[in-house]
């Protein structure tokens, strides 16, 4: 039964969605609405599951005294701090008149979000710019025809997407300036490539989904 029940649920839900898409009338639309609501509820629990799993893994690392103990301690402290302040502010906000959200400007949660979380996460993402520059200098070479095409496309788009591109080619008629070249690459070459990828993915998705709905693909159930 451990395999049959999930297979039956998958089949019923999958078929309901397909029917509801082509016949958006009651009772099929009702089934679709129920399943959507259930999905939102299950997804909410999944967030908690993920958070608790992170706590479990970090706690285990501390108990076993592995190499990343410092990072694990930091994760647990940050998690509990944000959680505690969030709950405290939320409770305070509900009982206040007028009520406010724990995320409103001026709350402790908002202070942590704006002054710690935002700069730290933006910094992590910004580091990409530095690594891209270093990698481009050392490894981005026109070794063959394909690499040369990529390099040229990168050159035109990178320069054409910023105002300095048009400054450099300002002496040319507007339709030949770098921004127009970049637009053409994005609208024609990029779009054609993206469409090919999207159609391929869509066909793959349809066939995989059908295999899952019909119970032919069971890898998602896990091993026995």
């Amino acid at each position: 039964m451990r395999r049959e029940i999930p297979l039956a649920i998958t089949f019923i839900v999958g078929v309901s969605y397909i029917i509801a898409y082509f016949i958006p009338r009651e009772p099929f639309s009702n089934f679709e609405n129920w399943f959507n609501d259930w999905y939102a509820i299950v997804a909410s629990f999944a967030i908690w599951l993920g958070a608790l799993n992170l706590m479990k893994m970090s706690s285990l690392k501390i108990i076993r005294g592995k190499a990343d103990v410092f990072h694990s301690v930091l994760i647990i402290i940050s998690f509990l701090l944000i959680l505690g302040i969030g709950f405290y502010e939320g409770f305070r906000g509900i009982n206040a008149t007028p009520s406010f959200s724990f995320r409103d400007p001026g709350t402790g949660f908002d202070w942590l979000y704006v002054n710690i979380y935002t700069p730290l996460s933006a910094t992590m993402f910004a580091l990409l710019a530095f690594f891209v520059a270093s990698a481009s200098y050392r490894a981005f070479r026109a070794r063959n025809f394909e690499a040369t095409l990529l390099l040229l496309a990168g050159f035109f788009v990178m320069l054409g997407r910023v105002p300095v591109g048009d400054l450099v080619t300002g002496w040319l008629p507007p339709e030949y300036q770098l921004s127009q070249w970049a637009n053409w690459i994005m609208n024609v070459l990029n779009t054609a490539g993206q469409r090919a990828i999207m159609i391929g993915i869509a066909l793959g998705l349809v066939s995989t989904s059908l295999r899952i709905i019909l119970g032919l693909e069971r890898a998602y159930l896990g091993g026995d």
Partner: protein, 328 residues
């Protein structure tokens, strides 16, 4: 960590602290100083070029210094580069401009702080435009941090134009429905009922008691949508579900990384317009007539792109020179 690295980090922190206390007002270089700095950078690049073709590649830390300087310097320079408005930004702006006052716009904030440098300026410009032109904004988020990013936009609009704080009423001119988990299933369910996915707003106010939402049941009751997207769920899911199935009119604001993925939807007419990356944000700010962060950041991005391109050219010149030497 090496001792020298520790000393360098200490010096950087000391320099930043000194700069913070000694320059309380923003520091602006004159045009002459700006030109001198650009010339020094150009000379440094010539030096790097010569060293590289001699077979001495500079270390990655030195590359980082070049990029860092290129990103930082424009913040202290006073010149502005002319912007060419791209057709996709123009069409997004036109779609917004053509909405009559009182129109209801659904704004989905589907991003988090790492993408904020690109998307927040777009969101700020959008909110300012809506508040200035009496467009009613319904905010929601498919990413947990989205609604808070929206709050930052609203706060920025109020800070820039203080009278708005009294004139714009929550629940009447805008509402923040908060975050709902469920990715594209939330979009799908909203096609039938907004209330089913958002029974209360961010402040636990019941959906039915919010004046702005009185006659809004589903997508057919909103005039347009703006999506700020950094990945999944985002623009692609909104097009596939809300546009294709329910006919929602939507313009998309994406990070530069995600923008190429949504171009096909622009060409097919499923998207009304597209703001891609920092350039899209700067162009949008230019069109709305209110220069914001993107108008400054785009200068930094321009410099950084030029630096990366110069490094690519130098690296390739050295590569071909080495190849020719081997052949000889």
């Amino acid at each position: 960590m090496k001792r020298t690295e520790l000393i360098v980090y200490f010096l950087i922190v000391a320099f930043l602290l000194a700069a913070y206390f000694f320059f309380p007002k923003p520091l602006n270089f004159s045009a002459a100083v700006s030109i001198i700095i650009v010339i020094i950078m150009a000379l440094a690049f010539i030096l790097v070029f010569v060293r590289t073709i001699q077979g001495h590649f500079i270390g990655r830390r030195m590359v980082f210094v070049f990029v860092g300087v290129a990103l930082l310097l424009p913040f202290f320079m006073q010149f502005k580069l002319p912007l060419q408005i791209s057709p996709e930004v123009r069409s997004a702006y036109d779609a917004l401009v053509n909405l009559p006052p009182g129109s209801r716009v659904l704004a989905s904030y589907d991003y988090d702080p790492p993408s904020a440098p690109e998307l927040q300026p777009m969101a700020d410009a959008f909110i300012k435009y809506c508040f200035d032109h009496d467009l009613k904004v319904i905010i929601m988020g498919l990413w947990p941090q989205g609604p808070q990013q929206a709050n930052l936009s609203i706060e920025a609009a109020f800070r820039e134009n203080p009278p708005l704080r009294n004139n714009i009423k929550y629940g009447v001119d805008y509402v923040n429905l908060g975050f709902q988990s469920g990715n594209e299933f939330v979009i799908l369910r909203m096609g039938e009922s907004f209330k089913a996915m958002f029974p209360t707003d961010l402040y636990n106010t019941p959906y039915d008691s919010i004046p702005l939402l009185k006659n809004i049941r589903n997508y057919s009751n909103v005039d347009m949508s703006f999506n700020f997207s950094a990945g999944r769920p985002g623009a692609v899911e909104w097009v596939q579900v809300a546009v294709d199935r329910y006919g929602l009119r939507i313009a998309s604001c994406n990070t530069a990384v995600q923008a190429p993925q949504v171009y096909p939807y622009l060409e097919s007419g499923q998207l009304l317009g597209l703001l891609g990356g920092m350039s899209g944000a700067a162009e949008f700010e230019d069109l709305t007539g209110k220069a914001g962060k993107a108008s400054t950041y785009i200068l930094s991005q321009s410099f950084a792109h030029v630096v990366v391109i110069l490094f690519i050219i130098i690296g390739n010149v050295a590569f071909f020179r080495e190849k020719r030497t081997k052949v000889d």
